[in-house]
Subunit: 674 residues, 2 copies
Amino acid sequence: MLYLWLSVGAGIIGLIVVGLLIRGILKQNPGNKLMQNLSKEIQRGAKTFLLTEYRTVAVVAIIVAIFLSLGPLFTHKVTVNWETALAFLIGVFASALAGWIGMSIATRTNSRTTQAAQKGIKPALSVSFSAGAVTGLSIVCVAFLGLVIVYFLFKGNPVIVNGYAMGASLMALFARAGGGIYTKGADMGADLVGKVEEGIPEDDPRNPGVIADNVGDNVGDVAGLGADLLESYVESIIATLAIAATIGIVSLSYLPFYLASWGIISSLIGVGWIKMGRVKDPQMALNSGTYLSAVLMIIGSYFIIRKAGVVYQNYSSLGPFWAIVSGVAAGLIIAEVSVYYTSSKYKPVKELANSCQTGPAVTVVNGLALGMLSTLIPVIVIAGATLIGFIFAGMYGVAIAALGMLSILGITLAVDSYGPVADNAGGIAEMAHLPPEVRQNTDKLDALGNTTAAIGKGFAIGSAAFAALGLITAYRATVNAFSPHPFTLSLADPKLIAGLLIGGMVPYLYGSLLAKGVGKVAFRIVEEIRRQFKEIPGIMEGKGKGDSSRCVNIAARGALNSMMLPGILAIVFPIGIGFFLGPIALGGFLVGALVTGLPLGIQTANSGAAMDNAKKYIEEGNLGGKGSYAHKASVVGDTVGDPLKDTVGPSINILIKLMSVISLVLAPLFVIIH
Amino acid sequence: MLYLWLSVGAGIIGLIVVGLLIRGILKQNPGNKLMQNLSKEIQRGAKTFLLTEYRTVAVVAIIVAIFLSLGPLFTHKVTVNWETALAFLIGVFASALAGWIGMSIATRTNSRTTQAAQKGIKPALSVSFSAGAVTGLSIVCVAFLGLVIVYFLFKGNPVIVNGYAMGASLMALFARAGGGIYTKGADMGADLVGKVEEGIPEDDPRNPGVIADNVGDNVGDVAGLGADLLESYVESIIATLAIAATIGIVSLSYLPFYLASWGIISSLIGVGWIKMGRVKDPQMALNSGTYLSAVLMIIGSYFIIRKAGVVYQNYSSLGPFWAIVSGVAAGLIIAEVSVYYTSSKYKPVKELANSCQTGPAVTVVNGLALGMLSTLIPVIVIAGATLIGFIFAGMYGVAIAALGMLSILGITLAVDSYGPVADNAGGIAEMAHLPPEVRQNTDKLDALGNTTAAIGKGFAIGSAAFAALGLITAYRATVNAFSPHPFTLSLADPKLIAGLLIGGMVPYLYGSLLAKGVGKVAFRIVEEIRRQFKEIPGIMEGKGKGDSSRCVNIAARGALNSMMLPGILAIVFPIGIGFFLGPIALGGFLVGALVTGLPLGIQTANSGAAMDNAKKYIEEGNLGGKGSYAHKASVVGDTVGDPLKDTVGPSINILIKLMSVISLVLAPLFVIIH
């Protein structure tokens, strides 16, 4: 029972810190009346979207739960049943709750950050980082507490506990894919009419699409990213538990709980360090907190693993420690590589900005090529960490390495998700006509936020790949555990090859559908804004007021409609392959999707971020600055990159995880059918 | 010995037809003095490039041959030796010879096509199709004869015969990657200065880069495509032979020779049907010829396979027949899908053209999304054909299905490669100031050529994937044959997973380097043309003459330099993985590269072709026509798509095949080392 009390204790301590952080935020001055109103409008819009989303999720979740409960009808053996369905629903709820907390606080902090930015960058960073920390810590703690409770209630039966991860995955699908379509559809729609057709600046209050754009920052980059990483976090633990269950040594099942608990404490210490504000340079402050947590995690896990002293098969009892080290290190390396390829401080983005002088086509080709090149190191690092995990602790070690990467998610997510708050704060400064110094401060904060956002995306993809790898390993172990004869999943089997090829195509299909969804939503927003500009008298003179809530609703409905087909595909594809071609083809299918999804995800994320920052670099006055030929080319590049980095790329994370977790949950069923 | 005489007979009959076609072409009127001069300049440029390329290839080939000869130093067992090296050199030579024949005739036919176009489309099609047929048939016959001779000389020892495929692969690497960089570098360079900076039309004789652009059509789309498909063709036969050798039934080794011989005869009949000109509509004429050959191939193979009547393991003696059917059908379906997604006759390109009205960024995003969507059916078809081949005839059936797809390469390549001749003919019409009706005729021919080129690219990727699949199967069989204990290549082995992940990244890395190479070459051409426009007096008035040969030389040297790094990577990567991580990781690596390379190749090819044809559709007067906002956006899309479809995509075919064939040749060595 020690694992239970320690885990619950760590989770509750984390939530107490969250409470303190929230109290600290709410004490801050929320700014003048206009700023408060703007903040409330964004808040309302974000709530509208999340509520619409949650309603849809509730319907889908109940349907899925009913199907899961019907498992026993297919076979008399023990597979999924109503308990799996219950764990699944708890997983959906935990993710929804964490997303709601993060969004509520982020949308309350934006105007407070604007207000603090009047005093300088440091106070503004302090306020917005608190909001990021609330998101990061509440996601980790809620997810972990929910998992611990499910694990305890159902006595660690993997067939049931895996349902919890599937719930988190379903919620992530909607939050990430729906949120991704929403945020870019609203962004492109508002820009196409505002900046391009009417020639008014970004975040201009006359544009009724601007609120929807600001809402998008919250539902995409706070709620979406959070749900995505929550899923990876849960799945890295679940995969470890599932593999431990097939090995059959009980203490191997407790280890992940100890490690995750210590990960929460390490993250709390890192957050505390950043809040103390000892380091002057903001970027350095954030980095030092992250590295502090990473070092603490590694040191603590050494003692935890030595204390546990589990020896199994031929592996040393310290084996899992090396897996943790390789996982933590892989996460940090991938984050640094993302920064190198997407920050305008380094050569790649500078060269890209230079090539903007040759026009939009060359910009886009070079932006795509840059993203393709940036896949090299992350993929090798993940492959290397997998091998290290395996060499030191077998299949269990592979899952532990993934857990290591995600163990300090509390701090990495805190650092990543203050960005959208700063972005919103800038928007409010513009819309509330605050003096340009304020906007300059929020812009600097936003620029820093772009870099941390790139880290967040890199980390999200890397961890998704690793979590999927853990799930696939668990899938394989489960298939073998339930099958009377061993499945080898060998490349000699053409079913496996067919599965690999088809799986490798799915991320492309999925990305294509999402990119088209963005276009559709943008087009509808464009039509609505055009209509308002034409029909509302005095809107361009700032006398009439646009109806921003209509834009918010159109984006919300459009986003959820556009994600239905790709969402259904993500669920139907693995089930179809499992039913018709069997568990071997399904194993290949999952690996195939991972093999293409990983580089495609990295490429789209880094291509998009690099083109975004190349544009910002030119706007800072380089290469002719705003209005130059290079700038126009960079705007095209940025617009191409936006749906790639914020919709296509992130959704692929969800795709590979969701398909893997569905397969894991249904693996016993497929084995019995075939 | 029957196999030998039949094969040599079919090859020689094919070459006789090639001779007759060449005689027919040379009898045609080559046009007036100016047209002849232009044709000669293109011819000289193409020769310059090919000779430079062949010199580089010769150096690399000799180095590789020396390494292969040193095989016995590593081990006393039978692996690669001087005989493999000799077969390798013969493979290089055969591919170089075939490429030279195709290029020589294509560059002699261009002005003759222009001349014929003065009389109408039909005579022009007849002349240019003859050139395509010369390319298609000479490639198939030379490659096949070379293989038969090597097989006979070295008594069918796979370790030696595989060297022949590796030679074809090395030549294809240079022809495709080098040619791809050349053609797009010259194209972009000439357009950026000519069309964008100076505002003179495409193919304007004052632009000294135009000849290089026209040379590029020949070295990229004739020599490059030809070498690519020659490699696939050889490898599909080699893979069948290698697998047959591991099964150990001699008649299984003869079957591919009979089938390939009949494939040549079927292609000859199809070519003859098209040359007879019974069908009025040009598109229909080409299609009917292809389908005629396909049907003949299927009927003939039924009798051949029934006659052979080989029963092995548990498969029916007619098993290979169904494999042939699935391969031929897969090739035709993939070709049709390419047409659907890239021709302006169908919905996808029309919708893409519509979205051009929203600007360049939306055009590019939709163009990329279209390509991603277009991967769905081809991948499923290849996976399906693999399964069918296996179900009816085991691993041997998978290789036979690939052979089926490539068996009628003579006709498919003839249809695909008349396009660049028509393209050149149009350029000559423009440069020689012929009346607009002539240009209209060549334009119609060129538009048809674009569709057949898209078919060619789809077919090239599909067949490359299939050939690679055959090679990987042969690799696995060879590893097991040489290893004392069986290798399972199971997904349970993290070395395999690491190999899969790293392999999946390589096409991205490779594509990135090639895309950058295009940019570099284009930039150098731009500088040279700018210099000539500035320094040569009277050049803009048409009095001074630009020095086009300098542009040709710059493009040639630039292309070969830019492809060195990616070329070396393609060779070093599999060897490094094989040496350091062993044959299991290498197996995963090859499959990983195939799994990502296939959709990436299809996506880039179809995105590029669709954006090209959307531009052409607008230029025909739709959606505002030339000069409209939509047209400008479509030009950006086309320019982004060009290096994707003509450099990145096609080179990925070579990458996955080259890495597979190197691994196959060196497989015994890796087994012995590990």
